[in-house]
Amino acid sequence: MKSKPSGRRRFLKQGAALAGLAAVGRIETARGQERVKLTNPPDSAIIRDPWTGEPLRDPEGNVVADWSGTPEWKAYQDHVRAMGGPLYGGNEKDHRLYGYRSPYVTTFRIGTEGSFNPAPTTVKTPFLSLLSPLQDQLGVITPAGLHFQDDHSFEAPNIDPRQHRLLIHGMVDHPLMLTMEDLMRLPSVSRVHFVECNSNGTLSHANRIQPWATPGDIYGEFSCSEWTGVLLSTLLDMAGVQRGASWIWAEAKDRRNHTKSVPLWKALDDCMVAYGQNGEPLRPEQGFPIRLLAPGFEGVTNVKRLIRIKVTDQPGLFRWEARTYTSLRPDNKIRWFQFEMQPKSIITRPSPGYPLPSRGFYEMRGIAWSGGGKVRRVEITTDGGRTWKDAQVQEPVYSKAATRFVFPWTWNGEELMIASRCTDDRGTTQPTLAQMAKVWMVEPDWFRKPTSSTWRFNVIQPWKIAGDGKVTNAIFSI
């Protein structure tokens, strides 16, 4: 009778497939010069037919092995450079040692690949942009795991902080080379600031203008954290800036060596070399081990993986500031170096994704911010922009940081359009579409089909609430 052995053989083959990996070909991984190959399994890992003692083989004839528990598998896990490897947080973490969220909380960042069309993304898509889900941000601080990430090299490198150095040179009396330990000895500050990409809210991002666009789709390149580090003025004081200097060049050490020019007045004002974010060291995707923070300035100024600061008397005119972070005018002139992010605000509830389930009381709430300073005032309209009422701006109100605003309100089932408008302590306010069109020197309708990049688009963001409580993106309405 052959049924028993063949049934057992079939069961064992299936079990083997579940338990381990077939030693098929070579699974090669690379990290620098280290390569880990899962071939030639040790004898203990080979799965054998218990009746005959022969190694089981897969349909191609390769030996089947159960690698779990072997040192080779551990080495593979540590070095694998793919989705699921250590660069993407693949190593198992003991949740008791570094906590976890409830499985019922499913807030995640929105991944986009930067090709400016709503193509579907999968786990294999390299994300150019990971947008922060603003609609789910409950306070002013963005949780570190939900902080937005724009990385033009698509991948955060694995930098050893013990090897990392910060160089300060150029038009200084004493060039300096600092290790992470040196930076830890220096006088430190801890400040709450946002980081925002220049393109946040741009009409060139197709997701942003869709009717289902959530606050994360619209303003997702924005996050706010507590940053801890050394003020750049302390470091420049140690180095001794020479007369005639007016700029600094800040360079990164990663796949792209991103370099940005920053005016010296800003470097001496409130720029910092940050090593801490929300109480722990920077995460690799936020620039571990150190990054430059230029509070209120365009996101591209906050150079991650900072390697050097060169003090000069010229802007470098490096690639991104020379081209990408500029905007074209109808008279063929080009705006560049606009530096500060302007006031913006968004109502997070109600919003697309958070419709109104019934009539009655709601606390309308949202987040406002400005690169020019503190949020002085946030106003809400419930009639499509005809009249505006003050919302309550809640403490804590930090300068150049996210600020909460709330507005108690009753919904009576009517169809209406709501929006928020932020004014900062310099008096700058958000424009309507018509006011923005004047600044851009275009007709308001041009924005529906823009023919060039619409950076710094901080027009009032309206939501349309339908009779059934559904909320949709009503951009271009106010």
Partner: protein, 219 residues
């Protein structure tokens, strides 16, 4: 007595003397605690070290608009063509037309157009390197950041050759023009004066530029 010169002179002296005395008292009152504070805060000593010239040069490949940071070396468009075919064409295209990253494919291979388009205009905003105000931006980016994922792998001669080739393809220099640290900064870019503000020294002062008055979008 009417307001005589002597009276005026005396009044000024008395007032002046009073102000000086008050200032002196106030100054004394302020410097004591300030001096004490200075004595209590130690100077930052013995943190960090002076880097050597080699260490600084090893991480310093940036080149500014004047070109004074350009490294020694030279190259021509002819030499650059060979390097381009090997190292650049797969991302930037055989004829520098650019390779679009296909949406949804997860492709990392792709790069912008480098030649075949003029400076941007409202009617035709697509542009190659003729967008840039300074030719040093092109050299700097190639030398410091290209190819992507292998930065700092190009030698100065290669970077000069590639820059020369790109400039040649954009009809800015001839095929045999030698690009080196003297000749490169002299190449004028057609878009130099399209930017607002035009003068580099006017850039830092955003208030003077009127940026605050236009909803934060600089005019």
């Amino acid at each position: 007595m009417r307001f005589s010169p002597f009276n005026r002179f005396a009044a000024v002296i008395i007032v002046f003397g009073g102000v000086v005395t008050l200032c002196g008292i106030a100054a004394l009152a302020q410097t004591q605690p300030a001096r004490q504070a200075q004595r209590q805060t130690p100077a930052i000593a013995n943190v960090g070290r002076t880097p050597t010239a080699e260490e600084m040069a090893a991480v310093d490949r940036t080149v500014g608009t004047t070109g004074k940071e350009l490294p020694p070396g030279r190259g021509t468009a002819k030499e650059g063509a060979a390097i381009y075919a090997r190292k650049c064409a797969y991302c930037h295209g055989q004829n520098m037309e650019g390779v679009r990253q296909m949406a949804g494919t997860g492709a990392l291979i792709g790069g912008p157009r480098l030649a075949g388009a003029g400076p941007p205009t409202w009617a035709a905003p697509a542009s190659g390197i003729k967008f840039f105000a300074f030719v040093t931006t092109v050299f700097d980016y190639i030398y410091r950041a290209m190819p992507p994922y292998q930065p700092y792998s190009l030698q100065p001669d290669e970077a000069y050759a590639l820059t020369a080739y790109i400039l040649f393809k954009n009809d800015l220099i001839r095929e045999d023009t030698v690009m080196d640290r003297e000749t490169l900064p002299k190449v004028e870019m057609p878009n130099r004066h399209s930017f607002i503000p035009d003068k580099l020294e006017d850039i830092p002062d955003i208030e003077k530029r009127g940026c605050y008055k236009t909803y934060g979008v600089c005019p």
